[in-house]
């Protein structure tokens, strides 16, 4: 995989700090699964956190908590065997988990407009974001649009081009919310992306805003 477009350093720091919303966490973890360069950057960002935390003052822990913890060791279930290594397959591990092993072709995609289908992914109630897969037909030109909110997109298959270059499998578009672009999907195959956005109550996701006049989502 030849990855050209990477995550913003600010996103990597937020990921390392564990403060990204679940939807964004899945997209970032998925990119890191495929991109050793960003995975190394995320590891480094976590070192900053470790260093800060190391400077925290100590709060005394009660003897009761200490002896309770030591008393539980015999009954604690050990995780002695490493998880199976990532299959290196069609999908990143974090996404595979959410799809419960289904392939992209097996999903019941919802057609939203000619050339555009979406599939919503489940998130916990604690999430304030939205996570979905988007499939755009070969050769489709999306209208020029801005995003009006936080959004990160990972390309899973196919490719599109916009004024920032070519985005193909493994590339991530971690764009500033003020940026406008007009992606055009390449002719030979559909482009499938994993997209995290802020919740629709806080802003309208751009496919929704684009298509609202047509289909009213």
């Amino acid at each position: 995989m030849n990855i050209e477009h990477h995550l913003d350093a600010a996103t990597l720091v937020a990921y390392a700090a564990g403060t990204l919303d679940e939807a964004f966490n899945v997209v970032v973890a998925s990119h890191l699964d495929w991109c050793p360069a960003c995975a190394e950057e995320a590891r480094r960002a976590a070192l900053l956190g470790g260093e800060l935390i190391g400077k925290l003052a100590a709060t005394p822990v009660s003897d009761e908590c200490r002896s309770r913890t030591l008393g539980m060791l015999d009954t604690a279930t050990l995780h002695r065997f490493p998880k199976a290594p990532s299959s290196g397959g069609e999908l990143p591990e974090a996404l595979e988990y959410l799809l419960k092993g289904k392939s992209l072709a097996e999903l019941s995609w919802k057609r939203k407009a000619p050339g555009l289908a979406l599939y919503d992914l489940p998130l916990s109630e604690a999430s304030s974001g939205k996570l979905f897969l988007m499939r755009i037909a070969p050769g489709t030109a999306m209208p020029e649009h801005g995003h009006g909110g936080e959004e990160i997109t990972l390309i899973l298959s196919g490719a599109y081009n916009d004024r920032f270059g070519r985005y193909a499998r493994g590339d991530v578009a971690d764009l500033d919310e003020s940026i406008e672009h007009q992606p055009i999907v390449e002719k030979d195959s559909a482009c499938i992306c994993l997209v995290a956005t802020e919740a629709p109550t806080r802003f309208k996701s751009w496919p929704a805003r684009l298509l609202q006049p047509l289909i009213g989502i």
């Binding site: 564990g18 925290l56 822990v61 050990l78 988990y97």
Partner: protein
């Protein structure tokens, strides 16, 4: 204060126990003893070394002392059961333990929803044991991180503290400091830039 601490670290002789990296090597050996031999004494030493800071970390997020001790216990039990996953090549023992503490806090929230807790963000399976050369490189790395942190200006440090210690998302930091989101992000990028520069030009 930060700068003074970091400077004194760099000036310490290599085997001084207060050297953060020597401390980490000692902690790594304890984790190894737990992983290989289920060594309870080693675990008790880890508990005494890390549990008090874990407790501070959890209390900083507004947990009551009782809940904090519950989470301290849960975190340290995870250290016992997952010791075999710890990989020194990925970061210090401290970073690993706080990753566990942070994930448990996130899981607490998720447990209230119906979806099973995902393994996201957990440490990856261990790779091969690091060679001596790599351990040395990591030792330099820890010093570079301390040096980078000492050079980060206060307005960037504030953002890092709110992220890593208070666990606030970028948008929340922006609201709290009354700054545009773009400013919060650019300060994060600059702070990370200091780290990158120090890692790439070790003194």
């Amino acid at each position: 204060m930060t700068a003074v601490l970091a400077m004194s670290w760099n000036m310490l002789p290599k085997d001084n126990p207060a050297d953060p990296k020597t401390e980490d090597l000692a902690a790594q050996r304890l984790v190894q003893r737990v992983a290989r031999n289920l060594d309870r004494e080693a675990f008790a030493e880890l508990f005494d070394a890390f549990a008090p800071r874990v407790k501070t970390f959890i209390i900083r997020k507004g947990a009551s002392p009782d809940l904090a001790e519950d989470l301290v216990q849960e975190t340290m039990i995870n250290v016992w059961t997952k010791a075999g996953y710890y990989d020194p090549a990925k970061g210090s023992v401290l970073t690993w333990i706080f990753t566990i503490a942070r994930n448990l806090r996130i899981d607490r929230i998720r447990r209230e929803s119906s979806r099973p807790v995902s393994e996201l963000g957990d440490f990856d399976p261990p790779s091969e044991a690091p060679a001596g050369e790599e351990i040395l490189a990591r030792k330099d790395e820890a010093r570079s991180v301390a040096r980078a942190l000492s050079k980060i200006p206060p307005e960037q440090m504030e953002i890092l503290t709110l992220s890593f210690i208070e666990d606030l998302p970028q948008a929340e930091i922006a609201r709290r400091l009354n700054l545009p989101l773009g400013t919060v992000k650019s300060r994060m990028r600059l702070a990370y830039g200091h780290l990158r520069k120090n890692l790439e030009q070790p003194a």
